[in-house]
Symmetry: D2
Subunit: 138 residues, 4 copies
Protein backbone atom coordinates (compact mmCIF):
# COMPACT_ATOMS: atom_id res chain seq x y z
CA UNK A 1 0.00 0.00 0.00
CA UNK A 2 1.31 3.46 -0.93
CA UNK A 3 0.92 6.53 1.28
CA UNK A 4 -1.64 9.19 0.36
CA UNK A 5 -0.35 12.72 -0.22
CA UNK A 6 -2.19 15.87 0.83
CA UNK A 7 -0.83 19.31 -0.10
CA UNK A 8 -2.14 21.69 2.58
CA UNK A 9 -4.52 24.26 1.06
CA UNK A 10 -4.53 27.94 1.98
CA UNK A 11 -8.18 27.68 3.08
CA UNK A 12 -7.16 24.96 5.56
CA UNK A 13 -4.99 27.34 7.59
CA UNK A 14 -6.33 29.51 10.43
CA UNK A 15 -5.23 32.81 11.92
CA UNK A 16 -2.75 31.01 14.20
CA UNK A 17 -0.90 30.50 10.87
CA UNK A 18 -1.27 26.69 10.96
CA UNK A 19 -3.57 24.02 9.49
CA UNK A 20 -6.78 24.07 11.53
CA UNK A 21 -6.97 20.90 13.63
CA UNK A 22 -10.38 19.90 12.21
CA UNK A 23 -8.89 19.38 8.75
CA UNK A 24 -6.81 16.38 9.86
CA UNK A 25 -10.10 14.51 10.37
CA UNK A 26 -10.90 15.26 6.70
CA UNK A 27 -7.42 14.18 5.56
CA UNK A 28 -8.02 10.88 7.38
CA UNK A 29 -11.08 10.39 5.16
CA UNK A 30 -9.10 11.27 2.01
CA UNK A 31 -6.40 8.76 2.98
CA UNK A 32 -9.04 6.11 3.80
CA UNK A 33 -10.68 6.56 0.39
CA UNK A 34 -7.26 6.18 -1.28
CA UNK A 35 -6.53 3.09 0.87
CA UNK A 36 -9.84 1.40 -0.08
CA UNK A 37 -9.23 2.16 -3.76
CA UNK A 38 -5.74 0.63 -3.59
CA UNK A 39 -7.24 -2.39 -1.82
CA UNK A 40 -9.60 -2.85 -4.78
CA UNK A 41 -12.77 -1.82 -2.91
CA UNK A 42 -13.32 1.87 -3.73
CA UNK A 43 -15.80 3.53 -1.40
CA UNK A 44 -18.09 4.73 -4.21
CA UNK A 45 -18.39 1.09 -5.38
CA UNK A 46 -19.25 -0.03 -1.83
CA UNK A 47 -21.99 2.63 -1.82
CA UNK A 48 -23.24 1.40 -5.19
CA UNK A 49 -23.44 -2.08 -3.62
CA UNK A 50 -25.82 -0.58 -1.03
CA UNK A 51 -23.29 -0.31 1.82
CA UNK A 52 -22.64 2.77 3.93
CA UNK A 53 -19.91 3.02 6.50
CA UNK A 54 -20.52 5.60 9.22
CA UNK A 55 -17.67 6.72 11.44
CA UNK A 56 -18.26 5.56 15.04
CA UNK A 57 -15.34 7.37 16.63
CA UNK A 58 -12.13 9.24 15.87
CA UNK A 59 -9.16 10.27 17.92
CA UNK A 60 -6.34 12.47 16.78
CA UNK A 61 -3.04 13.47 18.41
CA UNK A 62 -1.42 16.61 17.04
CA UNK A 63 2.35 16.22 17.44
CA UNK A 64 3.63 19.07 15.26
CA UNK A 65 1.97 21.86 13.29
CA UNK A 66 1.63 22.02 9.50
CA UNK A 67 0.75 24.91 7.23
CA UNK A 68 0.00 26.01 3.64
CA UNK A 69 1.96 24.19 0.91
CA UNK A 70 3.22 21.45 3.24
CA UNK A 71 3.17 17.99 1.67
CA UNK A 72 1.62 15.61 4.20
CA UNK A 73 2.15 11.92 3.57
CA UNK A 74 -0.47 9.71 5.25
CA UNK A 75 -0.01 5.99 5.84
CA UNK A 76 -3.11 3.97 6.72
CA UNK A 77 -2.88 0.64 8.54
CA UNK A 78 -5.52 -1.80 9.78
CA UNK A 79 -5.55 -1.81 13.59
CA UNK A 80 -8.44 -4.26 13.86
CA UNK A 81 -11.13 -5.86 11.71
CA UNK A 82 -14.19 -7.82 12.84
CA UNK A 83 -17.36 -8.94 11.08
CA UNK A 84 -19.02 -5.54 11.37
CA UNK A 85 -16.32 -3.22 12.64
CA UNK A 86 -13.05 -1.80 11.31
CA UNK A 87 -10.40 0.26 13.12
CA UNK A 88 -7.84 2.12 11.00
CA UNK A 89 -4.66 3.89 12.16
CA UNK A 90 -3.09 6.89 10.47
CA UNK A 91 0.43 8.27 10.56
CA UNK A 92 0.94 11.69 9.01
CA UNK A 93 4.46 12.80 8.14
CA UNK A 94 5.53 16.11 6.57
CA UNK A 95 7.97 16.71 3.69
CA UNK A 96 10.88 16.77 6.18
CA UNK A 97 10.01 13.36 7.61
CA UNK A 98 8.57 14.77 10.84
CA UNK A 99 5.58 12.99 12.39
CA UNK A 100 2.82 15.63 12.64
CA UNK A 101 -0.20 13.54 13.61
CA UNK A 102 -1.23 10.09 14.82
CA UNK A 103 -4.88 9.13 14.64
CA UNK A 104 -7.45 6.33 14.59
CA UNK A 105 -10.95 5.94 13.22
CA UNK A 106 -13.56 3.28 13.90
CA UNK A 107 -16.19 2.25 11.35
CA UNK A 108 -19.30 0.13 11.14
CA UNK A 109 -20.85 -1.19 7.93
CA UNK A 110 -24.58 -0.81 7.33
CA UNK A 111 -26.97 -1.58 4.48
CA UNK A 112 -28.66 1.53 3.07
CA UNK A 113 -31.83 -0.54 3.27
CA UNK A 114 -31.22 -1.03 7.04
CA UNK A 115 -29.32 -3.58 9.13
CA UNK A 116 -25.66 -4.36 9.64
CA UNK A 117 -23.36 -5.82 7.02
CA UNK A 118 -21.38 -8.89 8.08
CA UNK A 119 -18.10 -8.26 6.25
CA UNK A 120 -16.90 -11.83 6.76
CA UNK A 121 -20.00 -13.35 5.11
CA UNK A 122 -21.15 -10.63 2.71
CA UNK A 123 -17.79 -9.33 1.44
CA UNK A 124 -15.36 -12.21 2.16
CA UNK A 125 -12.64 -10.94 -0.25
CA UNK A 126 -12.69 -7.50 1.33
CA UNK A 127 -12.66 -8.99 4.84
CA UNK A 128 -9.78 -11.32 3.96
CA UNK A 129 -7.62 -8.49 2.61
CA UNK A 130 -8.27 -6.34 5.67
CA UNK A 131 -7.48 -9.29 7.94
CA UNK A 132 -4.15 -9.95 6.20
CA UNK A 133 -3.19 -6.29 6.49
CA UNK A 134 -4.18 -6.32 10.15
CA UNK A 135 -1.91 -9.32 10.79
CA UNK A 136 1.01 -7.63 9.05
CA UNK A 137 0.75 -5.00 11.77
CA UNK A 138 1.50 -7.50 14.53
Amino acid sequence: MTPYHHLVHYYETDRMGISHHSNYIRWMEEARVHFLTELGFPYDKLEEAGVISPVISVNCHYLATSTFADDISIMVTVAMVKAARLVLSYQMINQEGKLVCEAQSEHSFLRQAGGFVNLKKDFPDFYQKLLELSQEED
Copy 2:
Protein backbone atom coordinates in the same frame (compact mmCIF):
# COMPACT_ATOMS: atom_id res chain seq x y z
CA MET B 1 -37.82 40.25 7.74
CA THR B 2 -35.07 40.29 10.36
CA PRO B 3 -31.36 40.09 9.52
CA TYR B 4 -29.47 36.85 10.15
CA HIS B 5 -26.48 36.99 12.50
CA HIS B 6 -23.29 35.02 12.01
CA LEU B 7 -20.52 35.13 14.63
CA VAL B 8 -17.28 34.41 12.76
CA HIS B 9 -15.73 31.12 13.93
CA TYR B 10 -12.03 30.63 14.53
CA TYR B 11 -11.95 27.81 11.96
CA GLU B 12 -13.29 30.26 9.35
CA THR B 13 -10.17 32.43 9.50
CA ASP B 14 -7.06 31.80 7.39
CA ARG B 15 -3.38 32.59 7.88
CA MET B 16 -3.90 36.08 6.40
CA GLY B 17 -5.71 36.65 9.74
CA ILE B 18 -9.12 37.19 8.09
CA SER B 19 -12.27 35.18 7.32
CA HIS B 20 -11.49 33.03 4.28
CA HIS B 21 -13.47 34.35 1.29
CA SER B 22 -15.13 30.97 0.61
CA ASN B 23 -17.02 31.16 3.90
CA TYR B 24 -19.15 34.10 2.78
CA ILE B 25 -20.76 31.74 0.23
CA ARG B 26 -21.70 29.50 3.19
CA TRP B 27 -23.01 32.44 5.22
CA MET B 28 -25.23 33.32 2.25
CA GLU B 29 -26.76 29.85 2.57
CA GLU B 30 -27.23 30.26 6.34
CA ALA B 31 -28.96 33.62 5.78
CA ARG B 32 -31.12 32.14 2.98
CA VAL B 33 -32.26 29.31 5.25
CA HIS B 34 -33.16 31.86 7.95
CA PHE B 35 -34.99 33.99 5.35
CA LEU B 36 -37.07 31.04 4.07
CA THR B 37 -37.94 30.05 7.66
CA GLU B 38 -39.10 33.61 8.44
CA LEU B 39 -41.12 33.58 5.22
CA GLY B 40 -42.93 30.46 6.47
CA PHE B 41 -41.34 28.05 3.96
CA PRO B 42 -38.39 26.44 5.76
CA TYR B 43 -36.00 24.70 3.38
CA ASP B 44 -36.25 21.33 5.14
CA LYS B 45 -40.04 21.43 4.64
CA LEU B 46 -39.55 22.23 0.92
CA GLU B 47 -37.29 19.17 0.72
CA GLU B 48 -39.91 17.06 2.50
CA ALA B 49 -42.38 18.25 -0.17
CA GLY B 50 -40.01 16.74 -2.78
CA VAL B 51 -38.43 20.02 -3.91
CA ILE B 52 -34.71 20.69 -4.23
CA SER B 53 -33.24 24.05 -5.06
CA PRO B 54 -29.78 23.92 -6.62
CA VAL B 55 -27.67 27.06 -6.79
CA ILE B 56 -27.19 28.13 -10.44
CA SER B 57 -24.72 30.96 -9.81
CA VAL B 58 -23.22 33.14 -7.11
CA ASN B 59 -21.27 36.35 -7.13
CA CYS B 60 -19.65 37.97 -4.15
CA HIS B 61 -17.90 41.32 -3.70
CA TYR B 62 -15.58 41.59 -0.71
CA LEU B 63 -15.58 45.20 0.44
CA ALA B 64 -13.89 44.90 3.84
CA THR B 65 -12.32 42.05 5.78
CA SER B 66 -13.81 40.30 8.80
CA THR B 67 -12.24 38.02 11.38
CA PHE B 68 -12.85 35.75 14.40
CA ALA B 69 -15.56 36.93 16.83
CA ASP B 70 -16.97 39.54 14.41
CA ASP B 71 -20.77 39.69 14.41
CA ILE B 72 -21.88 39.76 10.77
CA SER B 73 -25.47 40.84 10.16
CA ILE B 74 -26.84 39.58 6.82
CA MET B 75 -29.93 41.07 5.16
CA VAL B 76 -31.51 39.04 2.36
CA THR B 77 -33.72 40.69 -0.28
CA VAL B 78 -35.49 39.31 -3.34
CA ALA B 79 -33.87 40.68 -6.49
CA MET B 80 -36.10 38.73 -8.88
CA VAL B 81 -38.59 35.88 -8.85
CA LYS B 82 -40.02 34.00 -11.84
CA ALA B 83 -41.95 30.75 -12.19
CA ALA B 84 -38.82 28.59 -11.90
CA ARG B 85 -36.05 30.98 -10.89
CA LEU B 86 -35.19 33.10 -7.86
CA VAL B 87 -32.42 35.68 -7.44
CA LEU B 88 -31.53 36.80 -3.90
CA SER B 89 -29.31 39.69 -2.83
CA TYR B 90 -27.26 39.80 0.36
CA GLN B 91 -25.80 42.70 2.30
CA MET B 92 -23.37 41.81 5.09
CA ILE B 93 -22.60 44.43 7.74
CA ASN B 94 -20.23 44.06 10.70
CA GLN B 95 -20.82 45.06 14.35
CA GLU B 96 -19.56 48.58 13.60
CA GLY B 97 -22.05 49.11 10.77
CA LYS B 98 -19.45 48.69 8.02
CA LEU B 99 -20.52 46.97 4.79
CA VAL B 100 -18.18 43.99 4.37
CA CYS B 101 -19.78 42.09 1.50
CA GLU B 102 -22.42 42.38 -1.23
CA ALA B 103 -23.52 39.24 -3.02
CA GLN B 104 -26.17 37.54 -5.12
CA SER B 105 -27.27 33.95 -5.65
CA GLU B 106 -29.51 32.46 -8.32
CA HIS B 107 -31.67 29.38 -7.74
CA SER B 108 -33.83 26.98 -9.69
CA PHE B 109 -36.46 24.68 -8.23
CA LEU B 110 -36.56 21.03 -9.20
CA ARG B 111 -38.58 17.98 -8.20
CA GLN B 112 -36.48 15.25 -6.59
CA ALA B 113 -38.43 12.93 -8.90
CA GLY B 114 -37.20 14.98 -11.90
CA GLY B 115 -38.49 18.04 -13.76
CA PHE B 116 -38.80 21.72 -12.87
CA VAL B 117 -41.16 23.14 -10.27
CA ASN B 118 -43.37 26.00 -11.43
CA LEU B 119 -43.42 28.12 -8.27
CA LYS B 120 -46.39 30.20 -9.49
CA LYS B 121 -48.62 27.14 -10.06
CA ASP B 122 -47.25 24.61 -7.56
CA PHE B 123 -46.45 26.87 -4.58
CA PRO B 124 -48.63 29.97 -5.18
CA ASP B 125 -48.40 31.25 -1.57
CA PHE B 126 -44.61 31.00 -1.61
CA TYR B 127 -44.44 32.67 -5.05
CA GLN B 128 -46.78 35.46 -3.95
CA LYS B 129 -44.71 36.27 -0.85
CA LEU B 130 -41.47 36.34 -2.84
CA LEU B 131 -43.14 38.56 -5.47
CA GLU B 132 -44.31 41.04 -2.83
CA LEU B 133 -40.84 41.19 -1.29
CA SER B 134 -39.34 41.66 -4.75
CA GLN B 135 -41.67 44.62 -5.40
CA GLU B 136 -40.76 46.21 -2.08
CA GLU B 137 -37.24 46.38 -3.42
CA ASP B 138 -38.26 48.65 -6.30
Copy 3:
Protein backbone atom coordinates in the same frame (compact mmCIF):
# COMPACT_ATOMS: atom_id res chain seq x y z
CA MET C 1 -22.74 27.94 32.41
CA THR C 2 -25.32 27.74 29.62
CA PRO C 3 -25.17 25.24 26.75
CA TYR C 4 -24.11 26.43 23.29
CA HIS C 5 -26.58 25.92 20.44
CA HIS C 6 -25.61 24.96 16.91
CA LEU C 7 -28.24 24.76 14.16
CA VAL C 8 -26.88 22.27 11.62
CA HIS C 9 -26.18 23.97 8.28
CA TYR C 10 -27.02 22.45 4.90
CA TYR C 11 -23.35 22.64 3.90
CA GLU C 12 -22.44 20.51 6.93
CA THR C 13 -24.36 17.48 5.60
CA ASP C 14 -22.85 14.88 3.26
CA ARG C 15 -24.34 12.55 0.69
CA MET C 16 -25.09 9.96 3.39
CA GLY C 17 -27.76 12.54 4.36
CA ILE C 18 -26.18 13.27 7.76
CA SER C 19 -23.86 15.87 9.33
CA HIS C 20 -20.33 15.00 8.22
CA HIS C 21 -18.38 13.69 11.22
CA SER C 22 -15.58 16.28 10.82
CA ASN C 23 -17.99 19.11 11.65
CA TYR C 24 -18.44 17.96 15.26
CA ILE C 25 -14.78 18.88 15.83
CA ARG C 26 -15.65 22.40 14.64
CA TRP C 27 -18.76 22.55 16.83
CA MET C 28 -16.53 21.66 19.79
CA GLU C 29 -14.50 24.78 19.00
CA GLU C 30 -17.65 26.91 18.73
CA ALA C 31 -18.86 25.62 22.11
CA ARG C 32 -15.40 26.17 23.65
CA VAL C 33 -15.36 29.79 22.46
CA HIS C 34 -18.84 30.31 23.97
CA PHE C 35 -17.69 28.64 27.21
CA LEU C 36 -14.61 30.88 27.52
CA THR C 37 -16.73 33.98 26.83
CA GLU C 38 -19.22 32.99 29.55
CA LEU C 39 -16.30 32.36 31.90
CA GLY C 40 -15.17 35.97 31.32
CA PHE C 41 -12.04 35.07 29.31
CA PRO C 42 -13.04 35.34 25.62
CA TYR C 43 -10.57 33.66 23.30
CA ASP C 44 -9.96 36.80 21.21
CA LYS C 45 -8.97 38.63 24.42
CA LEU C 46 -6.55 35.81 25.34
CA GLU C 47 -5.02 36.19 21.87
CA GLU C 48 -4.74 39.96 22.37
CA ALA C 49 -2.89 39.20 25.62
CA GLY C 50 -0.34 37.27 23.52
CA VAL C 51 -1.60 33.78 24.35
CA ILE C 52 -2.38 31.03 21.82
CA SER C 53 -3.92 27.72 22.73
CA PRO C 54 -3.20 24.92 20.25
CA VAL C 55 -5.26 21.74 20.38
CA ILE C 56 -3.07 18.79 21.45
CA SER C 57 -5.62 16.05 20.91
CA VAL C 58 -9.31 15.38 20.29
CA ASN C 59 -11.49 12.33 20.54
CA CYS C 60 -15.07 12.09 19.45
CA HIS C 61 -17.69 9.33 19.82
CA TYR C 62 -20.61 9.51 17.42
CA LEU C 63 -23.62 8.01 19.17
CA ALA C 64 -26.45 9.09 16.86
CA THR C 65 -26.62 10.95 13.56
CA SER C 66 -27.75 14.55 13.07
CA THR C 67 -28.73 16.43 9.95
CA PHE C 68 -29.73 19.80 8.45
CA ALA C 69 -31.88 22.03 10.70
CA ASP C 70 -31.24 19.95 13.84
CA ASP C 71 -30.65 22.06 16.95
CA ILE C 72 -27.61 20.64 18.73
CA SER C 73 -27.12 21.73 22.33
CA ILE C 74 -23.51 21.42 23.50
CA MET C 75 -22.50 21.38 27.17
CA VAL C 76 -18.83 21.95 27.97
CA THR C 77 -17.30 20.79 31.25
CA VAL C 78 -13.77 20.94 32.64
CA ALA C 79 -12.34 17.41 32.84
CA MET C 80 -8.93 18.52 34.08
CA VAL C 81 -6.84 21.67 34.48
CA LYS C 82 -3.13 21.96 35.25
CA ALA C 83 -0.62 24.80 35.04
CA ALA C 84 -0.16 24.43 31.29
CA ARG C 85 -2.82 21.98 30.19
CA LEU C 86 -6.62 21.91 29.99
CA VAL C 87 -8.94 19.02 29.11
CA LEU C 88 -12.54 19.82 28.21
CA SER C 89 -15.46 17.40 27.79
CA TYR C 90 -18.42 17.93 25.46
CA GLN C 91 -21.90 16.45 25.47
CA MET C 92 -24.02 17.12 22.39
CA ILE C 93 -27.77 16.60 22.60
CA ASN C 94 -30.33 17.10 19.81
CA GLN C 95 -33.72 18.88 20.00
CA GLU C 96 -35.37 15.62 21.13
CA GLY C 97 -32.99 15.18 24.07
CA LYS C 98 -31.01 12.40 22.41
CA LEU C 99 -27.25 12.25 23.06
CA VAL C 100 -25.60 12.42 19.62
CA CYS C 101 -21.93 12.87 20.51
CA GLU C 102 -19.49 12.71 23.42
CA ALA C 103 -16.05 14.22 22.96
CA GLN C 104 -12.93 15.58 24.63
CA SER C 105 -10.24 18.06 23.64
CA GLU C 106 -6.85 18.75 25.21
CA HIS C 107 -5.16 22.15 25.07
CA SER C 108 -1.85 23.73 25.91
CA PHE C 109 -1.20 27.44 26.38
CA LEU C 110 1.70 29.14 24.65
CA ARG C 111 3.00 32.69 24.33
CA GLN C 112 2.97 33.99 20.75
CA ALA C 113 6.47 35.21 21.55
CA GLY C 114 7.47 31.60 22.43
CA GLY C 115 7.40 29.49 25.60
CA PHE C 116 4.63 27.98 27.70
CA VAL C 117 2.12 29.94 29.74
CA ASN C 118 1.76 28.87 33.37
CA LEU C 119 -1.98 29.41 33.86
CA LYS C 120 -1.69 29.21 37.66
CA LYS C 121 0.91 32.00 37.85
CA ASP C 122 0.15 34.10 34.77
CA PHE C 123 -3.66 33.99 34.72
CA PRO C 124 -4.61 33.07 38.33
CA ASP C 125 -8.28 34.20 38.00
CA PHE C 126 -8.76 32.12 34.86
CA TYR C 127 -7.02 29.13 36.44
CA GLN C 128 -9.12 29.44 39.61
CA LYS C 129 -12.42 29.48 37.69
CA LEU C 130 -11.41 26.44 35.63
CA LEU C 131 -10.31 24.63 38.79
CA GLU C 132 -13.65 25.30 40.51
CA LEU C 133 -15.56 24.06 37.46
CA SER C 134 -13.36 20.98 37.35
CA GLN C 135 -14.12 20.22 41.00
CA GLU C 136 -17.87 20.58 40.39
CA GLU C 137 -17.50 17.66 38.01
CA ASP C 138 -16.36 15.33 40.76
Copy 4:
Protein backbone atom coordinates in the same frame (compact mmCIF):
# COMPACT_ATOMS: atom_id res chain seq x y z
CA MET D 1 0.22 25.55 -18.37
CA THR D 2 -1.24 22.22 -17.25
CA PRO D 3 -4.73 21.84 -15.74
CA TYR D 4 -5.10 21.24 -12.00
CA HIS D 5 -6.89 18.07 -10.91
CA HIS D 6 -9.22 17.85 -7.94
CA LEU D 7 -10.71 14.51 -6.87
CA VAL D 8 -14.00 15.35 -5.14
CA HIS D 9 -13.87 14.35 -1.47
CA TYR D 10 -16.74 12.69 0.38
CA TYR D 11 -16.84 15.57 2.87
CA GLU D 12 -17.41 17.99 -0.02
CA THR D 13 -20.79 16.45 -0.89
CA ASP D 14 -24.08 17.53 0.70
CA ARG D 15 -27.35 15.76 1.34
CA MET D 16 -28.56 16.65 -2.18
CA GLY D 17 -25.92 14.04 -3.16
CA ILE D 18 -23.74 16.56 -5.01
CA SER D 19 -20.62 18.65 -4.32
CA HIS D 20 -21.71 21.62 -2.23
CA HIS D 21 -21.51 24.79 -4.34
CA SER D 22 -19.23 26.57 -1.83
CA ASN D 23 -16.43 24.09 -2.52
CA TYR D 24 -15.92 25.28 -6.10
CA ILE D 25 -14.68 28.58 -4.63
CA ARG D 26 -12.06 26.55 -2.73
CA TRP D 27 -11.12 24.54 -5.82
CA MET D 28 -10.56 27.86 -7.63
CA GLU D 29 -7.98 28.68 -4.93
CA GLU D 30 -6.33 25.26 -5.28
CA ALA D 31 -6.10 25.72 -9.08
CA ARG D 32 -4.78 29.29 -8.64
CA VAL D 33 -2.02 28.07 -6.28
CA HIS D 34 -1.07 25.38 -8.84
CA PHE D 35 -1.12 27.99 -11.64
CA LEU D 36 1.17 30.38 -9.72
CA THR D 37 3.57 27.52 -8.92
CA GLU D 38 3.73 26.50 -12.60
CA LEU D 39 4.33 30.15 -13.49
CA GLY D 40 7.36 30.15 -11.18
CA PHE D 41 5.84 32.42 -8.52
CA PRO D 42 4.43 30.09 -5.82
CA TYR D 43 2.03 31.84 -3.48
CA ASP D 44 3.97 30.89 -0.34
CA LYS D 45 7.08 32.56 -1.85
CA LEU D 46 5.04 35.72 -2.62
CA GLU D 47 3.97 35.73 1.03
CA GLU D 48 7.58 35.30 2.15
CA ALA D 49 8.39 38.36 -0.01
CA GLY D 50 5.87 40.31 2.10
CA VAL D 51 3.02 40.26 -0.42
CA ILE D 52 -0.57 39.25 0.31
CA SER D 53 -3.24 38.94 -2.34
CA PRO D 54 -6.79 39.29 -1.05
CA VAL D 55 -9.73 38.20 -3.20
CA ILE D 56 -11.82 41.24 -4.23
CA SER D 57 -14.64 39.35 -5.91
CA VAL D 58 -15.66 35.95 -7.25
CA ASN D 59 -18.42 34.77 -9.52
CA CYS D 60 -19.26 31.18 -10.26
CA HIS D 61 -21.71 29.59 -12.72
CA TYR D 62 -22.71 26.01 -11.93
CA LEU D 63 -23.45 24.29 -15.24
CA ALA D 64 -23.59 20.64 -14.16
CA THR D 65 -23.35 18.85 -10.83
CA SER D 66 -20.38 16.84 -9.57
CA THR D 67 -20.08 14.37 -6.73
CA PHE D 68 -17.72 12.15 -4.69
CA ALA D 69 -14.84 10.55 -6.62
CA ASP D 70 -15.34 12.77 -9.70
CA ASP D 71 -12.05 13.96 -11.22
CA ILE D 72 -12.44 17.70 -11.90
CA SER D 73 -9.87 19.22 -14.25
CA ILE D 74 -9.49 22.99 -13.77
CA MET D 75 -7.88 25.25 -16.37
CA VAL D 76 -6.87 28.74 -15.21
CA THR D 77 -6.43 31.61 -17.70
CA VAL D 78 -5.55 35.27 -17.23
CA ALA D 79 -8.56 37.42 -18.11
CA MET D 80 -6.86 40.71 -17.25
CA VAL D 81 -3.76 42.02 -15.50
CA LYS D 82 -3.00 45.59 -14.43
CA ALA D 83 -0.40 47.12 -12.12
CA ALA D 84 -2.34 46.24 -8.96
CA ARG D 85 -5.14 43.99 -10.13
CA LEU D 86 -5.49 40.51 -11.62
CA VAL D 87 -8.56 38.75 -12.98
CA LEU D 88 -8.40 34.97 -13.50
CA SER D 89 -10.89 32.73 -15.31
CA TYR D 90 -11.57 29.09 -14.49
CA GLN D 91 -13.05 26.29 -16.55
CA MET D 92 -13.87 23.08 -14.66
CA ILE D 93 -14.41 19.90 -16.67
CA ASN D 94 -15.28 16.44 -15.30
CA GLN D 95 -13.76 13.07 -16.24
CA GLU D 96 -16.27 12.72 -19.09
CA GLY D 97 -15.28 16.05 -20.65
CA LYS D 98 -18.43 17.85 -19.45
CA LEU D 99 -18.11 21.51 -18.44
CA VAL D 100 -19.36 21.68 -14.83
CA CYS D 101 -18.41 25.21 -13.80
CA GLU D 102 -17.18 28.54 -15.20
CA ALA D 103 -15.87 31.13 -12.78
CA GLN D 104 -13.78 34.26 -12.30
CA SER D 105 -11.84 35.75 -9.39
CA GLU D 106 -10.39 39.23 -8.97
CA HIS D 107 -7.31 39.94 -6.86
CA SER D 108 -5.37 42.88 -5.54
CA PHE D 109 -1.79 42.78 -4.26
CA LEU D 110 -0.88 44.38 -0.96
CA ARG D 111 2.22 44.65 1.19
CA GLN D 112 1.86 42.99 4.58
CA ALA D 113 3.46 46.18 5.91
CA GLY D 114 0.64 48.21 4.28
CA GLY D 115 0.08 49.80 0.85
CA PHE D 116 -0.50 48.41 -2.63
CA VAL D 117 2.05 46.48 -4.65
CA ASN D 118 2.65 47.75 -8.21
CA LEU D 119 3.18 44.43 -10.03
CA LYS D 120 4.65 46.15 -13.09
CA LYS D 121 7.37 47.95 -11.10
CA ASP D 122 7.89 45.67 -8.10
CA PHE D 123 7.57 42.23 -9.75
CA PRO D 124 8.26 42.92 -13.47
CA ASP D 125 8.97 39.25 -14.37
CA PHE D 126 5.72 38.11 -12.76
CA TYR D 127 3.78 40.93 -14.43
CA GLN D 128 5.33 40.16 -17.84
CA LYS D 129 4.39 36.46 -17.64
CA LEU D 130 0.81 37.27 -16.64
CA LEU D 131 0.59 39.84 -19.46
CA GLU D 132 1.77 37.32 -22.06
CA LEU D 133 -0.74 34.75 -20.83
CA SER D 134 -3.46 37.38 -20.92
CA GLN D 135 -2.61 38.22 -24.57
CA GLU D 136 -2.72 34.54 -25.53
CA GLU D 137 -6.35 34.64 -24.49
CA ASP D 138 -7.21 37.25 -27.11
